[in-house]
Structure formats: structure tokens, C-alpha cells
């Protein structure tokens, strides 16, 4: 019998995390992410891992940062209201370079909003929620199987770049059940470990040539110090302008230096397209259907799906904008992704918004109507 089974997006996230080596989960349940915590509570102890339900969202992410510093591969999952609470510690994780994954299954906001309804309104908070200059990696899956794959990728990127990585899901995908077949094993990026002794000059925050430090885990035999203050190679705070400048620059460049390698997009029907729809997550599925229907009516339109949301796919959008007559951004919000698309295309083509924020997902007919308007056909 095939290994295919019906699985929910949130369950696939937990399965992906465990496949990628996550052995510590701390969380505080919140709709529509709760099934991730439930699945981790069920699966992790069997693998010798640790599941902790903490007293609140902030403590959960604190526990994750602590566990990671002690050598665990650690993950937390939440939704918008919890994501808001964790902002300070996300910044701490970025500054202290602590590998970990935080899943945000978006729901309608602001505040506690509509707990069970789909939204994509956290795109900008993922990027700019925590204060100060910091880079962000955020990945957004559109299917149950891709949720598994991107969770693995998120864990691997967090280890490779030693930074918190956000898996930006939406309710459409988190609560969706699909027929999936999962792989037996996945490629795992191991924890970076010191390859020098202190006598040889080891300093826990001295970067490797790729800009990422091989910070020792607590308990590994090294004296290490971790702080959210700007620090030098020793890990202790520094008041030096040069150290500050170099540290902030390095935090950005350790990620930007790999260029488009981590910026994944998927193109559909774009070869001869005169128009394109841009979308992420569950909305991209609706857009795909709308694009297919538009093609059937003879409109040359395609779809650009952003799989990596941050860093933003500037180059892909720039290339696309040079050869199409219009872009339609379909998203479940009042308009967030559209602003970033407008920035990326530098006015090279017209950008329109097909946004929705009424608790329901977009329908193919709604996107199709906007495609027709963009293409100058009567909707």
C-alpha cells in the first residue's frame, strides 16, 4: 500500500520539524496554529525530544532561545496575537544569533481579530516587527506537502545562518488537509560547532568566512556569554562604533551575501505572459486557478509565487516587470505585499491590488475579474 495519507498542513509542519532534527518545542496554543503544538506533543516525546507548554507566548519563545543555546534544534508556533508578543525576543535571537524556527499561522487581525479566519496580514510584521536593523528569513508554503518541505528548509536555514527563521503560514494551508506522501529522510544542516580551542584563539562570536559565527553551545566546555547588546567576538558588550557598525553590517551580509540562492519563487504560465499575478501561500492556489481560467479565455497571464517572502524577490520581480504590462497582487489583507511589489518594480509596470479581509479566502472568480480589468477586458 502506498504511504499516501490525508494530512493537515499544521501536522505536516510538525512532521517536517522532526524530520529536520527539531528536538525541542515550546509553545502556547493559539488558533489556527494549535495543531502544530498538539502534533509536537504527540510526536516529540517518542523521539526523545522535549515538548513544553509554557505559561504564555513570550515565555515559549524564551524557552526556545534557551534550548537552542544549549544545543537543541528548537521551534515555536503561534498566530498573529502571539507573534506580536514575541517581537522583542525575535530581535534578541537575531542579535545574539540563535538558530530557531518560529511558525506564524496567520489569522485575521488586528489584535485577537478573527481567530479562525484566514489572513495574510502579518507579512510586514514578519519583516519589521522587532525594532532595529535586522535581516529576516521568512518562507511561505502553499500546500501541505510544501509545508513539510519548507519547515525542513526553515530549520536548515536557521542553523546555516544562525538566525531565527519564520515559517509564514496562513489558515488556508495550516488547516487544509491534503493527500500527501512524505519522504523517508531529508537533508539536514547540522549545528555549527567550534573548530578551534580557546588556546588557538577561539572566540564564540568571531565569524567564519561566510559571516556566521560557530558559537559553542552551552555545556560544550567553552566559556560563552550571550547578550542582546551589540557585542564583539568574545560575546561581551562593546561600546565601539566600529564594532557596532561591523556587527550590524555582518548580520545583514551573512544572509544577503548568498544572493538569490535562498530566494525561491515559482513561475507558472509566464513564458509568453503579458500580465502576471503575484501571490503567496494559500492565495497563490486561488490565483493559479484564476490564471488558468483567464488563459482559457485567451488572456496571456501568468503567476509568480513567492516561496521565500523575505528576503524579498526583488530581482525576480524586476525581471518580470520589464516584460509585462501589469501586475496584480492577490493577498488576504488591506494591502501589504502590494507595497513591497511596488517598491521592487520601481514603476516599471502598473501594479494593482486584489485584496480581501472579510474572513473568507479570495475566490478564483474574484481574481479573474481583476485580471480582466488589468487586461482591459470587461469583467
Amino acid at each position: 500500500m502506498s504511504k499516501a495519507r490525508l494530512m493537515q498542513g499544521n501536522e505536516a509542519c510538525a512532521e517536517g520539524a522532526i524530520a529536520a532534527g527539531v528536538n525541542f518545542f515550546a509553545g502556547y496554543p493559539i488558533t489556527p496554529s494549535t495543531e502544530i503544538a498538539e502534533s509536537m506533543a504527540r510526536l516529540l516525546p517518542k523521539k526523545g525530544g522535549t515538548f513544553l507548554q509554557m505559561e504564555d507566548e513570550i515565555a515559549s519563545f524564551g524557552a526556545v532561545l534557551g534550548a537552542s543555546l544549549a544545543g537543541a534544534k528548537a521551534m515555536d508556533a503561534t498566530s498573529g496575537p502571539g507573534f506580536s508578543l514575541k517581537q522583542e525576543l525575535i530581535g534578541y535571537g537575531a542579535c545574539a544569533e540563535i538558530p530557531c524556527v518560529l511558525v506564524d499561522v496567520q489569522r485575521v487581525g488586528p489584535s485577537t481579530g478573527q481567530p479562525t479566519a484566514p489572513s495574510q496580514g502579518d507579512i510586514m510584521q514578519v519583516r519589521w516587527g522587532t525594532h532595529g536593523d535586522h535581516p529576516v528569513i521568512a518562507l511561505s508554503p502553499w500546500s501541505v506537502r510544501e509545508t513539510f518541505d519548507l519547515t525542513v528548509r526553515a530549520v536548515n536555514y536557521s542553523e546555516r545562518f544562525r538566525t531565527p527563521v519564520i515559517l509564514l503560514m496562513d489558515e488556508m494551508v495550516g488547516h487544509l488537509r491534503e493527500r500527501v506522501e512524505l519522504p523517508d529522510s531529508v537533508e539536514i544542516y547540522p549545528r555549527r560547532h567550534p573548530h578551534q580551542t580557546r588556546a588557538e584563539g577561539y572566540e564564540p562570536y568571531n565569524p567564519d568566512p561566510d559571516g556566521v559565527p560557530d558559537t559553542a553551545d552551552f555545556g560544550q566546555g567553552y566559556h560563552i556569554h550571550v547578550t542582546g547588546l551589540i557585542h564583539d567576538g568574545t560575546g561581551f558588550p562593546s561600546g565601539s562604533p566600529t564594532v557596532t557598525r561591523d556587527d550590524i553590517r555582518r548580520l545583514h551580509e551573512k544572509i544577503s551575501s548568498v544572493g538569490e540562492e535562498i530566494i525561491h519563487v515559482e513561475e507558472s504560465f509566464l513564458e509568453d505572459a503579458k500580465y502576471a499575478v503575484v501571490a503567496i501561500g494559500g492565495t497563490a492556489r486561488t490565483a493559479y486557478e484564476a490564471v488558468r481560467e483567464a488563459r482559457a479565455e485567451g488572456i496571456p497571464v501568468g503567476l509568480l509565487r513567492l516561496i521565500t517572502v523575505w528576503p524579498f524577490a526583488d530581482a525576480a520581480l524586476h525581471r518580470l516587470a520589464e516584460r509585462v504590462d501589469g501586475l496584480l497582487v492577490a493577498e488576504l489583507s488591506y494591502g501589504q505585499l502590494v507595497r513591497e511589489v511596488e517598491r521592487a518594480v520601481h514603476g516599471k509596470t502598473e501594479v494593482r491590488l486584489c485584496g480581501k479581509y472579510d474572513m473568507t479566502s479570495l475566490t478564483p472568480a474574484e481574481i479573474l475579474a481583476d485580471i480582466k480589468r488589468m487586461a482591459g477586458r470587461d469583467a
Binding site: A4, L6, A117, R177, E178, G282, R285, E289, T363
Partner: protein
């Protein structure tokens, strides 16, 4: 082949579980499946809706727009959702809980909850009675596959009662 089904009622009636079970059976039989739901923040009461799309090809937009089949377990759900049915679609109503059937030609009325109480002993089996009826009325998956899925999902001491509920629903839809 692509079929869209919507099960509707109020929270606690088990319309989501019924959809998951149908989806599991279809997945086991090799079909592409998308199963989703919408409900309020309440654990009980409030509107609940679940959807299953079963297809031979990849499914993109995962939500149902024009169902080929609607199950309504409350009057409110019946009044709200029958309108979306395709013209050849089928509407299945809980006969007792939907006293005023909407004006839709292809309607089937079965006393689902009453059968669950009288034949299986508890109203909580209503969703499995409904599932048995749905298996027969839609002919999308085999009763045996659904039976296996039910047995795997329910608590062990309730397997027998659930299988009975499934059978009663299947018979009632003759």
C-alpha cells in the same frame, strides 16, 4: 472527475470529522483530496462547515464554490448553503432538524439524528450515520474503505457502535 462536497450544521455535530473521514477514504483510494473547514471560536454551537474536494487531478483553489453535494444538519445551514449547489447537485437534510426543506428539486431527507439516537443510542453518532448515507448517495468511495478509516480514528471501545451507525446511514440512503 472532480466533485465538491459541503457538510454543514452547528459546532459539535461532527460535520468536520465526517469530512475528514470521507477525505481519508478518498486519499487511500488514490484520489487527490482537499479538505477544509470553517467554524467560529466556540467549541459547541455556532455555525460549522466542512468541505471536501475529491479529484483525479491536482486541486488548486482548496475551497468549495459550487458544491455537487450539500449535507445540512440544521435549518440555518440548509437555508444558507443549498443556493450554492450545482443544478444537478444533491441536497441531503436531517429530516427532523430541517423541518422546512428549501425549494431544491434534488433533495433527500433522512432522519439522521433520530436514527443515531434510536438505533445507535446517542445523538453523537449522527455524523457517522450521515457519512454512511453520503457514501451511498455520492458513490465516490467504497463503504469498506470508509469503515477502515472510521475504525482507525474513533476510540477503540466505540468502533462497533460507529460501524453500526455507518451501516444504518448506508441502509437509510437506499
Amino acid at each position: 472527475m472532480k466533485k465538491e462536497l459541503r457538510f454543514s450544521g452547528s459546532g459539535g455535530q461532527g460535520v468536520i470529522t465526517a469530512a475528514v473521514l470521507l477525505g481519508e477514504a478518498a486519499a487511500l483510494e488514490g484520489r487527490e483530496v482537499c479538505q477544509s473547514q470553517s467554524y467560529g471560536p466556540e467549541a459547541r454551537g455556532g455555525a460549522a462547515k466542512s468541505e471536501v474536494i475529491i479529484s483525479d487531478e491536482a486541486i488548486y483553489h482548496p475551497h468549495v464554490e459550487h458544491p455537487d453535494f450539500v449535507l445540512a444538519m440544521t435549518q440555518k445551514a440548509a437555508d444558507k448553503y443549498y443556493k450554492d449547489l450545482t443544478k444537478d447537485g444533491l441536497l441531503l437534510l436531517d429530516e427532523e432538524l430541517v423541518p422546512n426543506p428549501p425549494d431544491f428539486p434534488n433533495t433527500r431527507r433522512i432522519p439522521i439524528t433520530k436514527l443515531a439516537i434510536e438505533e445507535v443510542g446517542k445523538p453523537l453518532f449522527a455524523n457517522i450515520v450521515a457519512l454512511g448515507a453520503i457514501v451511498r448517495l455520492t458513490d465516490l468511495v467504497s463503504l469498506d474503505t470508509v469503515k477502515d478509516c472510521v475504525a482507525k480514528r474513533v476510540p477503540p471501545h466505540t468502533v462497533e457502535a460507529n460501524e453500526k451507525a455507518l451501516r444504518i446511514g448506508y441502509e437509510a440512503a437506499k
